[in-house]
């Protein structure tokens, strides 16, 4: 049964077009997202692992090694079942830092363009046998279907035709998206579809084999019983060493093969999908492997003359069934095309990121978008890679079986396993060790596995090792695999231990180690706002690309374009680096970001960004166990305690960045934490910016009372305390709202003032008693006076005494009014000297007081604007205090000077002075240094209050001369006035 070549090629074209249509429908959203985003699609897309090796090559493995063919699947199953060991840590790294290939991962870990380039080159070389395997499987199948004998010239022409078709489709698939960092939904869906097709085709073949060749499962069992030798051949799988090596090779392939890496990590959007794949992929592979033994046995029973790999086609031919033949062909075609498409796409991305861009082979064109340039480069690279695969296939001349090609490729990629394992598990590994190990391992691999089929030369040394170590048992490839891995690992370890690891690598190693994935540090950027990022990146990326990348990063982080918070800018920088890593590779991205958006040089030492760490922990919704859970509980408890403290707490970094702002701060300031945490103190709203900034700059660690007036005019009183953290320059400020305390104190003062008025009233009663007694005496004398002149004098004396009583009562009323704050001063021109004279006169009435000398130097013509009664009260209080401060021979002088419109009145004494530490308190009500019962502490408070009411002010200077009589000077500032027409003299 044969088909014409055009029929077969048309079939291939139609099949691949159908595949492209699936991708197109998925990309356009015509296939619903609930299907394309379903975990099953992701799991099925991982079936890309099963290339032509799974559809054809594994039949030869089963034929030669019995049950050992299962190791091909079990290696991958083991890797996925133990995903927590390697796959999940790598997935986290890849997703956080947008790493889409093994070269990205290793160059990120070892911080070297050389590592990226070496891995890419090595990967391209080791993957040539895999590409050749796919091409050979399809070309052979076409060849068989079209009825030609193997090995003739037309065989290569068919391979060329297939390569042209698959190149076109690979380019279509691979460059649908601008950037390799975008999830390629169409590709994932198409590969998942291919996995399903592959599975269905193999099951069709199994059913055809069982029911067509063996007459059902019972017939198969019966045939096996009749051929015990065959069943026994299954028994002893290949030798133990070979089996373990095979398992190791396929185990490594599950993470080192670029197409599997691409599907597992670059196309993953949810880590829970990978968790589901830990059982989903093994289930898929179980279903895929089930048909292999029945197909193999059917091939053996048929005894066809085709290579055993193509038993499926032989079954179709034997049954003369077009559907069965088509199923056999489709199984191989779907497996091979999926592998070629994804492998070349992954390799093309690696070449761009690690060979083309770092070597400046592709200068960034400012006029064109980077995305378009990259798209064309990717297209070219895909073509070149498939051409290289074909060239390798043609060079071999069909001398290698599919299994040999597969083993060569898998053993080659085994050389990347030491680097992959070291990434999360060995922080001391360095780039020199990795490169040395890789070179050594690849040399052994090339000598043992690439050289013999291409040149026919078998290295003697490897053959001797095989003889000496394994007694010539097993295959040579096993010795080559183990020897190459041993050389690789040995060199890697020894060179890493003997050479210096750079600081960059140490940082990357910390990031990659599983304990410390996120290592957010707090450093200050030279840029002040997000809008500056675009300008800085434009010279490196081109204006359009820079703008689009910055906007994209801002959208992902949900930040505003006017963002200025240092915390937000650091996150934006990190996100840009991660996004550019997906576009240009981690090394280029790191270099561009370091150059365009640098941190401030020579700034403060790096400190951990506690705020970001805590935010990540809170958002992660982690379920810790053991000591980690205890520590997390402690963290939460402490955080809650700090948040709910009734005292405001804010923590400020050395660079002025706000690191913490608890709930009390929110209620005191009205500013929510999310508005200020991560921003600078300078960017806080008024009046808090000034208060906190001044306090931080000041020398004092405490500010006991300060009044704050909000925009609405409300006043609050707060006290501030400051402390420094033990580590770094961080400072913690405690803010206490003492408004209620202040109001209470004011109320208390008022009550106390009222009480003091009551106490004064007693003194006043005594003061009034004297004139009243005088009036009574005068009235008695009046009774006996007959002389009109004497009567007049007595009446005048009575009137003077009455006026004195009135003045005393007025003073009391005035004081009580002033003290309550409701006094209104009625300002009028007042003669200053007269007022001073009156005060001196009143004070001299007290015969029990010290006989100090009062001198009035005031200009007799000087008139000030004042309430004369209240000004009198001021002088009485000031002169009385001065007298009390002097000894019996003291001297108190009053002088006035005129400066412009301002009159400065000084009251000087030669008394004991006022100690400096008390000078700030003398104006406070009830503050006195006099003995109990001798002073109320209201005198100077009243002076301050009256002068304030009259628009003047009062200052105290002490001492004014050297001891023993330092003296005090009280200076009153008042406004000059004159008796104009407005005022009645």
């Amino acid at each position: 049964m044969s088909f014409s070549l055009s029929q077969v090629l048309l079939f291939i074209f139609v099949y691949l077009s159908g595949l492209f249509a699936v991708a197109h429908l998925a990309d356009r959203g015509i296939i619903p997202e609930r299907i394309t985003n379903h975990p099953a699609i992701y799991i099925l897309s991982l079936g890309v692992f099963a290339g032509a090796m799974a559809s054809n090559g594994v039949i030869e493995l089963a034929h030669r090694y019995g049950y050992s063919f299962l190791l091909y699947y079990i290696g991958v199953v083991a890797m996925f079942v133990m995903a927590t060991v390697l796959l999940l840590p790598l997935l986290r790294l890849c997703r956080v830092y947008q790493l889409s290939s093994l070269a990205d991962l290793l160059s990120f870990r070892f911080r070297s363009t050389w590592v990226g380039a070496a891995i890419t080159l090595a990967m391209c070389i080791t993957l040539l046998p895999l590409l050749a395997l796919q091409i050979q499987a399809v070309a052979d199948s076409i060849h068989i279907l079209s009825g030609h004998a193997a090995g003739d010239h037309e065989h290569y022409s068919l391979a060329v035709l297939f390569c042209i078709i698959i190149t076109l489709f690979s380019i279509l698939f691979g460059t649908r998206h601008q950037s390799s960092q975008d999830r390629n939904t169409g590709l994932v869906t198409a590969i998942a579809f291919e996995s399903l097709v592959k599975l269905l085709a193999l099951w069709v073949l199994m059913m055809a084999a069982v029911y067509g060749i063996f007459d059902g499962f019972s017939g198969l069992e019966q045939w096996l019983v009749q051929n015990p030798a065959l069943h026994r051949a299954m028994e002893p799988p290949m030798g133990g060493d070979s089996a373990r090596t095979l398992l190791l090779v396929f185990f490594a392939g599950a993470v080192c093969m670029p197409h599997i890496f691409h599907m597992a990590f670059a196309e993953n959007t949810d880590s829970s999908d990978l968790r589901k794949a830990t059982w989903g992929l093994p289930l898929y592979l179980l279903l895929l492997s089930l048909p292999i033994l029945p197909i193999t046995w059917a091939g053996i029973r048929l005894g066809h003359d085709l290579p055993i790999d193509y038993s499926g086609l032989a079954i179709g031919a034997a049954l003369k069934s077009t559907p069965v033949t088509a199923a056999a062909f489709v199984a191989g075609l779907s497996a091979a095309s999926a592998t070629i498409i994804v492998t070349t796409l992954a390799l093309a991305n690696m070449c761009i990121n690690h060979l083309v861009l770092p070597s400046t082979l592709l200068p960034i064109d400012r006029e064109r978008s980077v995305y378009i340039q990259l798209k064309w480069v990717r297209r070219s690279l895909i073509g070149i890679l498939i051409l290289a695969g074909y060239t390798f296939f043609a060079t071999l001349g069909g001398k290698q079986s599919l299994t040999q090609l597969g083993l060569t490729a898998f053993t080659g990629t085994l050389q990347f396993l030491p680097g992959v394992i070291a990434t999360p598990y060995w922080p001391n590994a360095n780039r020199r060790g990795l490169l040395a190990g890789l070179c050594g391992g690849l040399l052994v691999w090339a000598a043992g596995m690439m050289l013999p089929p291409t040149s026919g030369y078998y290295p003697v040394l490897l053959t001797q090792i095989h003889q000496n170590l394994f007694n010539g048992e097993g295959s040579l490839w096993m010795t080559v695999s183990l020897a190459s891995l041993a050389v690789n690992t040995g060199l890697f370890v020894v060179v890493s231990l003997l050479t210096r690891t750079s600081s960059d690598e140490r940082v990357a190693a910390e990031i990659c180690s599983m304990d410390d994935l996120a290592r957010p540090t707090r450093r200050t950027l030279t840029l002040q706002s997000a809008s500056e990022f675009t300008q800085q990146l434009a010279p490196a990326l081109g204006e359009r690309t820079a703008e689009s990348e910055v906007r994209r990063a801002l959208n992902e982080l949900r930040f505003d374009e006017q963002e200025t918070r240092p915390y937000a800018l650091r996150r934006l920088r990190g996100r840009l680096e991660a996004n550019l890593s997906g576009l240009l590779g981690p090394v280029m991205s790191h270099s561009i970001i370091d150059r365009c958006i640098p941190f401030q040089p020579g700034g403060q030492a790096e400190t951990e960004d506690i705020h970001l760490i805590e935010r990540n922990l809170d958002r992660g919704n982690y379920q810790f166990t053991g000591i980690a859970a205890d520590l997390d509980n402690l963290r939460r408890r402490h955080r809650e305690t700090l948040d709910k403290l009734p005292i405001g707490i804010c923590s400020i970094g050395g660079d002025g960045e706000l690191l913490m702002w608890n709930q009390s701060m929110r209620s005191i300031t009205g500013i929510p934490p999310e508005d200020v945490v991560g921003s600078l103190v300078d960017s806080m709203p008024a009046p808090w910016r000034t208060i906190i900034d001044d306090f931080l700059r000041g020398r004092k660690d405490s500010l006991l009372k300060t009044e704050i007036t909000s925009e609405s005019g409300d006043s609050r009183w707060i006290s501030l305390h400051r402390t420094s953290a033990d580590s770094g320059n961080d400072r913690v400020i405690l803010v206490e709202d003492i408004t209620e305390f202040e109001l209470l104190e004011e109320e208390l003062l008022h009550s106390e003032r009222l009480a003091s008025i009551g106490r004064l009233a007693a003194g006043v009663a005594h003061e009034i008693g004297n004139p009243v007694t005088g009036i009574a005496c005068l009235a008695q004398n009046l009774e006996y006076e007959t002389e009109p002149e004497e009567l007049r004098y007595t009446a005048q004396d009575i009137l003077r005494q009455t006026e004195r009583v009135t003045r005393i009562v007025d003073s009391l009323v005035n004081f009580s009014h002033t003290g309550s704050g409701s006094g209104e001063a009625s300002l009028a021109p007042s003669n200053l000297a007269d007022c001073v004279d009156e005060a001196i006169h009143l004070l001299s009435l007290n015969r029990e007081a010290k006989p100090v000398e009062f001198i009035n130097h005031c200009d007799r013509e000087l008139v000030v604007l004042a309430d004369s009664q209240r000004l009198l009260q001021v002088f009485i209080n000031l002169l009385g205090n001065a007298r009390d401060a002097c000894d019996d021979y003291g001297q108190v002088s009053v002088a006035a000077t005129l400066r412009g419109e301002q009159v400065s009145v000084t009251v000087e004494d030669n008394g004991c002075g006022i100690p400096p530490e008390l000078q700030n308190q003398v104006f406070e009500p009830f503050f006195t240094t006099k003995d109990p019962g001798e002073g109320t502490g209201l005198g100077l408070a009243l002076v301050f209050s009256i002068m304030d009411d009259m628009g003047g002010n009062v200052q105290i200077t002490s001492p004014i001369r050297k001891p023993p009589q330092p003296g005090t000077r009280v200076t009153l500032q008042m406004t000059q006035a004159s008796y104009g027409t407005t005022f009645e003299v």
Binding site: Y67, V81, T84, P237, R275, K276, W279, T625
Partner: protein, 58 residues
Amino acid sequence: MYINRALLMAVGVVLIFFPAIEGWVSSSESAWYRPYLLWLLVIVAAYWNQRTRYPDEL
């Protein structure tokens, strides 16, 4: 570093019982699909294991 304890124990058990398992699987008197039963068991265990959420979840 976080590695599932159940997984470590399972690997240990497999290593200890590997000779017995290998003998049972490749016995000539057994049904040809016997290895697949073991494989199915691994899938069930993996399914059971992945239901727990781990701290390295993204």
